[in-house]
Symmetry: C2
Subunit: 319 residues, 2 copies
């Protein structure tokens, strides 16, 4: 029976290739809506750049796909964009990086309830099970990977300060994993403040830390935008040689410092905004190739060192 | 500072689009090796079909990508295929569904050590951390989803028999989750045997179960190939109206039964071989679009019912 089955299968496989190619060529057309935040800091600038780049590439690669790309500075505009995509643009699927996932959950559920495919990027919604596909970086992994570096670089312990992101779940996942990672070490966290993944906040909070603490060995800024602010505060205070600092995401300017062997910024941890392009690509596959892509893609948060920095140096990005 | 930054970013984004498109057009070419088992049962027949289909589609969509596709009936041939891909075909990356993951781990590690990108599909290697990307179905989810169905269909309990797969980790993940799911119910597992995701084994084991047990209310065959053997045994024994049976994977023939409202096969659970195509697509993105795709994609194991069967009915597949 097995032999017969295998032979029959082989014949069927061979004859089906021609049919399948024809089916794809005749496919109906699909419209995919892409909704992302307006570039309000470096990371979202990268999101907008990579989203547009993916849309341009996929429009060429798959003639039966077209895209509606909208950027929104706030949840009111982002919700209106979704309503417009349903009511007048007739989308078949949506890829969304929600600026504020709590505020956007109800609007995204409406898109799902209208029978559309939904891909959510980066920020999880406040209600589980709405989206078909979730694409994000490894947030606990970012904390763990960073903690591993701190342990190896401070084998005898030391004083550190921590600049958190914003008070939403992905920040907590990162910080909890980092704290668990350094738990049984001599590394002492002098202070922690929310810097909102923001350059200005990073600058002000680091100025405050420098005033309060005469001896700091290292800084965990968690984010490369925040880190740029931290580095500015260190430079102005003339204390840039007293401590090293680690951000996160893979901003081009920081990758170049790591690649050059900077003592001040020895490593970075990847959490690149090009995950939005991967999410658009997977969604396109659902329509263009009938691929099964419902599920969860978690992209590694990798330690970026002098040795591997080149592979994280994406050309021409604004981030 | 924020306003200035945003304006500068916007300008940079605009000017970078042209550059980026040019960069992609001029890209160097890449060779991707694809290594899959020879079709020895329905599911691997589907793997071969979907792998070839993805290669055909991607070759057209991305002119700078080419592919080497090899099928292997056993680990000796599959290991030789990998050596050939490195030594004479000069691959830049590999997508592999290892027939026997334990036996193939060392060979795959060699590919990684040679500096190549590695994507592993379905069957996890015996050593973690080798591959860049892992793509698989949700194996615990398959067990949980199936258990949920059994609970809802047998609210007052009943006698069931269980046909397992092969003694490798993904089978244990499925079975453990299923058993945990039915734990506090009146569902009684009369017997369990390994059917190796195989039609003939399913047939013989079900014949044995039918001889031993006069009253069976339902069968969990875990796999649609096994289920086909189970259905044959039931029919020959004239007991096809005494019990219903659930497989797994999404074989076309089973999907059509579910879609038609079969009382004997009321549902299926998705674990489609087209996951190999998704894995090839993601790997292609790494090279064609410099996308960050290292990580883990777990595809949902969804309950397939009469209502949603149409979306799991892939055209022209041999599986």
């Amino acid at each position: 029976m097995n032999l017969l089955k295998t032979t029959a299968l082989a014949a069927l496989v061979a004859s089906s290739f021609a049919l399948a190619s024809a089916a794809i060529a005749q496919d109906k057309t699909y419209v995919i809506g892409v909704s992302v935040p307006t570039a309000d800091h470096g990371w979202t600038g990268g999101v907008d750049f990579f989203a547009q780049q993916a849309v341009d590439r996929l429009t060429k690669a798959y003639p039966n796909l077209s895209f509606v790309l909208a950027t929104a500075p706030d949840s009111t505009k982002q919700a209106a964009d979704l309503e417009d995509m349903i009511a007048t643009r007739n989308i078949d699927g949506l890829v969304i990086l929600p600026g504020d996932p709590d505020a956007m959950t109800a609007s995204i559920k409406k898109v799902k309830d209208a029978g559309k495919w939904v891909t959510v990027v980066d920020r999880a919604l406040s209600q589980p099970g709405i989206e078909d596909l979730y694409v994000a970086g490894d947030n606990p992994g970012l904390g763990t990977t960073t903690a591993d570096y701190f342990k190896s670089a401070l084998p005898n312990g030391g004083n550190i300060v921590v600049l958190r992101g914003a008070p939403i779940p992905i920040d907590a996942q990162r910080v909890d994993a980092f704290m668990a990672g350094i738990k049984d070490t001599q590394i002492k966290v002098l202070d922690t403040q929310f810097a909102n993944w923001n350059r200005d906040d990073g600058y002000k909070i680091m100025q405050d830390f420098l005033t309060k603490y005469p001896k700091i060995d290292a800084v965990w800024a968690q984010d490369d935008d925040t880190l740029v602010g931290v580095l500015k505060a260190l430079k102005e205070a003339g204390r840039e040689n007293e401590m090293w600092a680690v951000g996160g995401a893979g901003m081009n300017q920081i990758i170049k410092m790591v690649a050059s062997g900077s003592a001040q910024v020895p490593v970075d941890v990847s959490y690149n905004p090009n995950m939005v392009a991967t999410a658009i690509d997977l969604t396109a596959l659902h329509f263009a190739a009938n691929a099964q892509v419902d599920g969860k893609l978690i992209i590694n948060s990798t330690l970026i060192t002098k040795d591997n920095a080149a592979q994280f140096d994406y050309p021409n990005t604004p981030f």
